[in-house]
Symmetry: C2
Subunit: 184 residues, 2 copies
């Protein structure tokens, strides 16, 4: 059996809010600690689990459920699973929380105004011009968590600081042991 408890750290938030960056920083921290972890990123998940699937509410919910099943299996096998998905609908996220024993919901928050200003991939410009449909935050709703385990404000804090707060939450809940960095 695996020597650690698994869990699912579920990062939800708008496109461009910083979910992937935060997941990668979390991954580095978990690697330093020598614990088994897996990063599941929105784009790869779409590609492997739901190729060709669209972005209607029904299709998004189906995809989020699939990704959640994957998290559930990894978690119960002792893997710290970090999943980064827009996952805009509250009900289906709550469904996953009910199913997965250690489900840590992280709301990755960034004001839409700031996202439109950054617009790293140029998607918001296109969505606002009506060139992309079903775009979360513009033409599709985003339902923020009512009671997330952690809220990170990416316009106000660094990914490092956000990662530290998430790790502290995992320590408090007994999923991760407290970590003392090796002295220099």
């Amino acid at each position: 059996m695996n020597s650690q408890n698994g869990c699912t750290v579920w990062l939800t938030g708008l496109s461009g809010a910083g979910k992937t960056t935060l997941a990668q920083v979390l991954g580095e921290r978990l690697r330093e600690r020598g614990v088994g972890y897996e990063l599941l990123d929105g784009d790869e998940l779409r590609d492997r689990l739901s190729p060709g699937l669209g972005f209607s509410k029904q299709e998004r919910d189906a995809h989020v459920r699939r990704a959640g099943y994957l998290c559930e299996l990894l978690s119960r096998n002792g893997v710290i699973t970090v999943a980064a998905l827009i996952s805009p609908y509250r009900a289906v996220r709550d469904e996953l929380r009910a199913r997965i024993p250690d489900f840590i919901e992280v709301y990755v928050e960034c004001p839409l105004k700031e996202l439109v200003r950054r617009d790293v991939k140029g998607l918001y410009r296109k969505a606002l011009a009506g060139e992309i449909g079903n775009f979360t935050g513009v033409s599709d709703p985003y339902e923020p968590p009512h009671d997330p385990d952690v809220t990170v404000h990416t316009a106000e804090e660094t990914p490092d600081a956000s990662a530290d707060r998430i790790l502290a939450t995992l320590e408090r809940s007994g999923i991760l042991k407290e970590f003392a960095a090796a002295p220099l």
Copy 2:
């Protein structure tokens, strides 16, 4: 990190050939050894990964790819993953073999005549009467593996004997340590 190497034991064969029974016996053996394992069974996988999906070649292939992605993630996180799926098409199974480092393909063979005789779920009768379409072995093809790692003949050997041969293969390939049962 996990202390063991993971792998995927992929059971392919016709409906009723004995994949689920064999997976359960394998699971008991793995539990006795104290290794981390997961059983993925066809019906639950369909329900969680592909609800509402049909049985055309394209749909079956999509489902098998999804299930394979799940096996890939579990395997690389040190879990011995036993998947039982009809998975009738050779090309997509070979695709998984190419992707997953320790992929053990097990052909669960049973003559159609014997399956029709047993017909535990009454599905063959219906398929032969034309009441169920896309039924593997009757109205849909089954492509046996060309070079499976293990072939088990469920009409000729017990699930226990089949499980022993699969475990021996895992030991020979270095995935499992040799196991001496505790003396009585």
